[in-house]
Every structure is written in structure tokens, then in C-alpha cells.
Amino acid sequence: MKRYRTHLLLCTGTACVSNNAFNIKKSLEIEIKKHNLENEVLIVPTGCNGFCERGPILVVQPDGIFYQQLKESDIPYLVEEHFLKGRPVKKLMYTPSKGEEVIPKMMDIEFFKHQILIALRNRGRIDPEEIEEYIANDGYQSMGKALFEMTPEEIINEVKISGLRGRGGAGFPTGRKWELCRASKGDVKYIICNADEGDPGAYMDRSILEADPHSVIEGMVIGAKAIGAHKGFVYVRDEYPLALKRISIAVEKAKDYGLLGEDILGSGFDFDLKIVRGGGAFVCGEETALMQSIEGKVGRPTPRPPYPAQKGLWGKPTNINNVETWANIPVIIARGGDWFSRIGTETSKGTKVFSLVGKVNNTGLVEVPMGITLREIIYNIGGGIPNGKKFKAVQTGGPSGGCIPEELIDLPVDYEQLTKAGAIMGSGGLIVMDEDTCMVDVAKYFVSFLEDESCGKCVPCRSGIRRMREILTRITQGKGKEGDIELLEELAETIKKASLCGLGQTAPNPVLSTIRYFRDEYEAHIKKKRCPALVCKDLIIYRIIPEKCTGCRRCVQVCPTGAITGPKAQPHNLDASKCIKCGACYEVCRFDAIAGDAIYME
């Protein structure tokens, strides 16, 4: 067998690819060839490594050296120094912040240290386009176990013991869901993998499909046997080209190897998997709308009941699980439900993948045990808030979720605790916000997103969300009225109760949770016409502090509307009627003459 002394695990997830990872791969190939190392050093393109903030990332094994933020121009030096001469290159390694010591090894970095990988077990370790690398890490062994050694009831029971709950948002117990679908009458049943991830800032599912597509396929075959289905669908949004490519390759390879199709491994069990591309409508992540879309109809939800388990795709019993849920299944079968259920809290077992984004130092993809506190995620793994700013809130669960304020930062993360706090687990987006964030503006952003994405089938969602957005817009423009908060609350309750599907039922969450925790901020906008975070442009005014202004003319040059004038070396004038509050002058001023007190509210 061909032996390479060094394996270079180059991250080729979407984030690193957009940061030039494929060109880095090319120059690595060229340089390695130049030094005649092609028989000693192997380049392995992997899926997302997780530490997207520091991409493009290269991990060198067996040394465990972590290189980050690579540029094409770094490669010749790196190859000669490290891979030929054996001198790891310090300047390309990770430093937590300026002035600190570099950390050469991946597992010594705080970001990785606190994570427990189950769903992401193969991330950054294998080439997702090579089925044999997945097989090498015990891939498809759980499927073999399920097909040969377990009855459908035993599989369902194992999943029930594990306590696994749906990772797509609502958290319905997976074993129970399978049991219901198995019990439904009918010869033809379907299973679906929901990969229509659409929350702003969330990319857990994309990342799993890109890094380890076979784990999803394996999970689905196991589920198919448990439920009695012989046909499955993976519904992926077309905006995920790389995920689509890798899951397509994986399905083809699995078919070539006889791990999908007829008589899998000689067990007599048949299962066929088809990939369906979604058009990118947010509502198609809702299970009934998703099934309509697979059937070729307009993706709009239908009333439940009947639930998919009774009457789903083409009227047949159907089981839908999210990507991450499927990816957990092989591990549960391999290591047992008991093992899985020992991780996590009383009601939420196992781990959860979060995409940690927003105002946090280490943005990226993290997998942590349930019950970990938000503080541990944001500060230990995330490295805290950049630029010494103060933490203000974290939005969980995307547009259907809610904002959790600073006083609840020690909240343990599980389904119940998050719901109690007015947010939801959702699919796992964590958007961190700092003191410069206006909570009314945030609510407006999410509500506008949902207004665009509402399918328009039911009135409460279609018109209710629009009315909420109008009220919020008014408030941010300083035209808020006494009673607006109460009106928002009343609207929210109605939309929640009367909407047809999950999109409308959860749409008011961002509004309700921001009112609940940041009511004073709403009141400041409405009563005092002030935006405490200085975000809402209609409520703030810029001026120049004459005592501080040196007359350097930097602001004059950047002002796009010519609002700032003035001769050199004399305090400048700012014409408020021309000012569009773009903040360009504030950014360039070196003397704080357009900062602090200079940005004020009337």
C-alpha cells in the first residue's frame, strides 16, 4: 500500500473555498512536485474544518500542526521549510490575539479543545469525495450491523434509548417519529433528508453534506430499514452548489459500491436514494411545503394533521429528518443508545452543532454537548467579543428564534431551557450581538426576512408579518406611537395561533423576545425618539466638535454628499440637511472630532 509520511488536510468547505482554497491546493501541488515530494506528502481536500474565521486552513498530520489564513504566496516557503526541511513555519500558525504566543497544534487551540464531535466526527479528517476514506473510519459498518443483526424494532428502540431529538428545530424525539411512521398502514413509505437550510447565518447542514455526506446516506439506510421504506430523497437547496456536488458524488459512489440500491451487502434489503434540488424558498424547509416541492408543486405548506407519518409524499407515510439528525444515527447504532444518552441533559441528549457567527472573535462551526452554557460557547470557544465591546444578546434559532440577553448568558443550552427563555434551539444558528446592536433594528431585520419568505397562503402570516414590519419600521424612524408595543404583542399572539405552518407560528419570536428583554429600548425609540445603540439613522445626527477638529480635510474627501466643507486647518462645517449619516467621516477622523458626543440624538 502506498505510504505517505505526511498528510496535508486542506479545508475545502465553502468558507475556505471562497477564500481561495482551491488555488492554494494547486500551488501546493506545484511546489510539492518541484521538491519531488509527491510520493511522500499527500494532499487531502477535506470538508469544513470548523474554524472558518481563520480560513483557509491546513492541518498537517501526523504532527497536528494547524496553519491558518494561508495565501497562495505563502505556499512555496511553507513547502520548502516544513515539508522538505521539517521546520514548521511559525508565522502561519494561530495566535489567539496580538502579542500572545503562537499555538502550533490544532488540539491545543481553545476553539477545538472544548468540542465533542459526533455528527461532525469526520470533519476535516477525510476527503468527502472518496468513499474509501469514509469506509476507513468505520463507515457503513453501522449500516451492516442494522441490516444483518437488528430487527426494525430493535433499531427504533436503540434510537429511542439514545434520546435523540430532531436537530432541525422542533426537537421531536426521532425514535418516536420513526415508530409512528413504521406503524402507519401502507406498503410504500418514503424517507426524506431535509437539507433546505435557510436561516441567515446558519450553515450546519451544508457543512455536514460537504464534509461527510456518507454519514447522512448511512443514517438514511438505517432509518429506511427501521421504517420499512425503500425509497428516499435528499432535498438540498440549489444555492449550496458544493454540498450538492459532494452529496451527488457520494450517492453515485455508494451505488457503485453496492451500498445503495438492490440487495444491499447481500442482506436482501433494497433502498434507493434520490437527490432533489430545492429552489431556495425558506418555507420549503417546512416539512409539508418541502413534500409539495418534491412532488413538483409550488412549495406551500398544507395543514397538519394529517402528519407526514400518516399521509406524506404522494399520500404515503413519510418520515422527514434533518441532515444533522441523520448524521447522528450511525454513531448511535455503533456505540449504542446508552452511550449517546449519557451525553447532554435530562431532556436533551447528545451534542448539537452550532454555527457561531456575528460579533464574536472565533466565528465557525462548533459541536458541543447539550447543556453547555452560552457563556462557554461564546467566551471559551468563541473567544469573546471583538474590539473590547460588550456582549449584548445572542439570537438562537434564526428568524424563528429569539434573542437571549446578557443576564441569561449562563443558561444551559437545551431544547426546554431555550424555549423557556423565549427562543428556540432551531437548527442551530447562534448570532452574537454586541453593544452596537439595536434590538428594534434586529427584530425589524428578521421580520423583513420572514415577510419576504412568507408563502402567502394564509392571512395571519402574509398580512400579520407585514403589519409587524411596518410598525417596527415606523418605530425605527422615530414615528412610533404610544401603544405600538402592545399592538405588536397582540399581533404576535394572533400570528402565532392562527398561522398554518411553522414559519408563521414562530415568526413573532424575534419581536416578542426583544420586547421581553429590551422593552426599554423600544420605549426609548417610541417616547424619546432615541436609538440607544446609535443604529437607527433617522434618530441620530452627526456634528463636528470644533475644539477637536484640526481641519485636516480627511472627512471632506470621503463625504459622498459634500455635506462637510471648510478650509484647511480650520474646524470644518457639517451641513445636516445634506448629511446621509453614512458614517464615513466618523470612520476616517483621527481626532475623535466626529465621535462620541459628536454623534447624538435630539
Binding site: R5, D63, L84, G86, F148, D263
Partner: protein, 127 residues
Amino acid sequence: MPKLTLDELKALRDKAKESIKTRDGKGRAKIIVHMGTCGIASGARNIMNSLLKELEERNITDVIVTTSGCAGLCSHEPMMTVEIPGKPPVKYIDLTEDKVKKIMVEHILGGNIVVDYALAFGSETVY
């Protein structure tokens, strides 16, 4: 007839596992070939190649081979250091391909240091 049986899948796994073992970062021994300019000039690349060939021919997958810079004793290059967990590292000097073969058999597989080729035990203290 299925395309692949369960037994064949297991055999495939065992074979594939060997090829990615390097990524675990674990091994029963670690061999460091010194690849400073002096090392390369006196043939360290050949030493590296013959090491890898030896490992491949003997189908040994749990020995880590890596490189490092000049060890400071340029007149005795090519050099390599053999580290076996729990034992002091051993530096070998003035290597040839035949010497490498002998070290492989006696030291790495057999556990007995080839005293004739060894310079010293241990490494310098690093501050």
C-alpha cells in the same frame, strides 16, 4: 448477487484504515530525518526515500516519519533520530541505505539500538 458483501466491506475498511493511519498522529515509533541544507546535500533525501520504501515493503503503518532541520553536527550528516515512546531518543549518524535497513530491523522492529551507528542517547535541552 450483491456488489459487495459485509465481509468484503470489512476487508475494504481494514485496508483503507492503513492508508489514513498517518492522520491519527499516533505511532509506536517516530523517525526524524534531519533535512537541513547540510543533510540534503549529503543525501538525506535518499535516506528518507529508503525509509519510506522499507516501511512500505514491510507494510508497517504505525511508524511516523517526519523531518526536522539541521541538528548541528553537519559533518556527520545524513542523520536521523529514532524516538520510541518511553525511551530516550537515539541519534544515528553518517547514514547509508544499508544502515537504514539494519536500524529498521534491529531497532525499530527489534527494539535493540544499533550501537555502531548511534551517536548518542537523548536530545539537547531546549529552553
